[in-house]
């Protein structure tokens, strides 16, 4: 009996490992963020439009909001811009832009030409806020709940499908939890 069960068990374990590891739908570059479940790092930065005016995400305490890290150097960010504009039109939550490693004039032109989905767009030229948020690529989109805790992170250009499937249910749950 053992002569049959042991190799069979080993085979099934290996098959399971391969099924999980070689799943073509798995993004092998995506990393689980250690910041999920932790307090969102607070930043105070000038806004893209005006170097003289500063914005801090501390002012959003008690609100559910989305933070979208982008840069004008990032081609996939251009791709998701229409989706972000569409989402902004729904007025579900404020979208905060975090423009990192960028040139201010270029960022201003980007917002003018492609449209501005952001409630505020923070300008982070030396990437300090982005490092605090654990951003390693662009675009990355974070969801913060009413307690100021990061509850979800999505890496890749945003799509309406992802927004409906991953974000909206979490936003509804976060609101219910915060009320």
């Amino acid at each position: 009996m053992w002569k049959f069960l042991v190799p069979m068990g080993a085979f099934l374990a290996l098959a399971l490992l391969f099924a999980l590891g070689l799943n073509p739908n798995r993004d092998i570059r995506a990393l689980p963020s250690p910041l999920i479940g932790k307090a969102a790092p607070v930043f105070t930065l000038s806004v893209v439009e005006d170097p003289g005016r500063s914005f801090s995400n501390a002012s959003l305490k008690g609100q559910v909001y989305v933070l979208n890290a982008f840069g004008t150097w990032c081609a996939p960010c251009r791709e998701e811009q229409d989706t972000l504009l569409e989402i902004a039109k729904q007025h579900v939550v404020p979208i905060i832009g975090l423009d990192f490693n960028d040139d201010r004039a270029r960022a201003q032109r980007w917002l003018r030409e492609l449209g501005d989905p952001y409630a505020e767009t923070a300008f982070d030229p030396d990437e300090r806020a982005a490092i605090d948020w654990g951003v390693y690529g662009a675009p990355e989109t974070y969801l913060v709940d009413t307690h100021g805790v990061i509850i979800f992170k999505y890496i890749s250009p945003m799509t309406l499908d992802v927004w409906q499937r991953e974000f909206l249910p979490r936003i509804a749950a976060a609101r219910k939890d915060g009320a």
Binding site: R29, L31, P32, S33, P34, L35, N101, D126, E127, I131, D132, W133, G134, Y136, G137
Partner: protein, 151 residues
């Protein structure tokens, strides 16, 4: 009068801050203190660049790696320990940023698996060879079957 003095103070502070930072680096952008520079090189070699995931931030040319090198340099100058700097990075990017996995409770499986497999293989080989050594060699005549019953 007052604003002028304030402005002068601010300018002076900025200048000394800039000079202070510049004095810590030589013309090649290396830390003047050789001990700090050695620690800087050791730490940056052990941190993974998350954009090009098989390069360390010491080797990578992407912007993020450069900014993380700046972060390490500043923290070294601020007197942080190596462990504090690694903690700073793992708090933001996860354990994956470290090329050298620390030996802790949760990494026990990673560190222990090779030794466990080695032991398992040893046991299997031992049992197989023991079983084989009881078989007759090919050029030996098979032992006589014991006689059955009285003849």
């Amino acid at each position: 009068m007052r604003p002028a003095i304030l402005f002068l103070c601010a300018a002076l502070c900025l200048c000394t801050a800039a000079a202070g930072f510049a004095a810590d680096l030589d013309i090649h952008g290396q830390l003047v203190d050789p001990v700090l520079q050695a620690r800087f090189e050791a730490i940056t070699k052990q941190l993974r660049c998350l954009v090009c995931q098989n390069e360390s931030i010491a080797d990578s040319n992407v912007q993020l790696a450069g900014d993380l090198r700046r972060e390490v340099r500043e923290q070294l100058l601020a007197g942080r320990t190596d462990a504090e700097i690694f903690d700073f990075m793992t708090a933001r990017y996860g354990e994956f940023v470290r090329f050298n996995t620390p030996f802790e409770g949760k990494t026990l499986a990673i560190w222990g698996a090779p030794f466990f497999l080695l032991l398992l293989g040893g046991v299997v080989i031992y049992r197989v060879t023991r079983a084989r050594s009881r078989l007759p060699l090919d050029d030996e005549p098979a032992p006589e079957p014991p006689a059955i019953g009285p003849r």
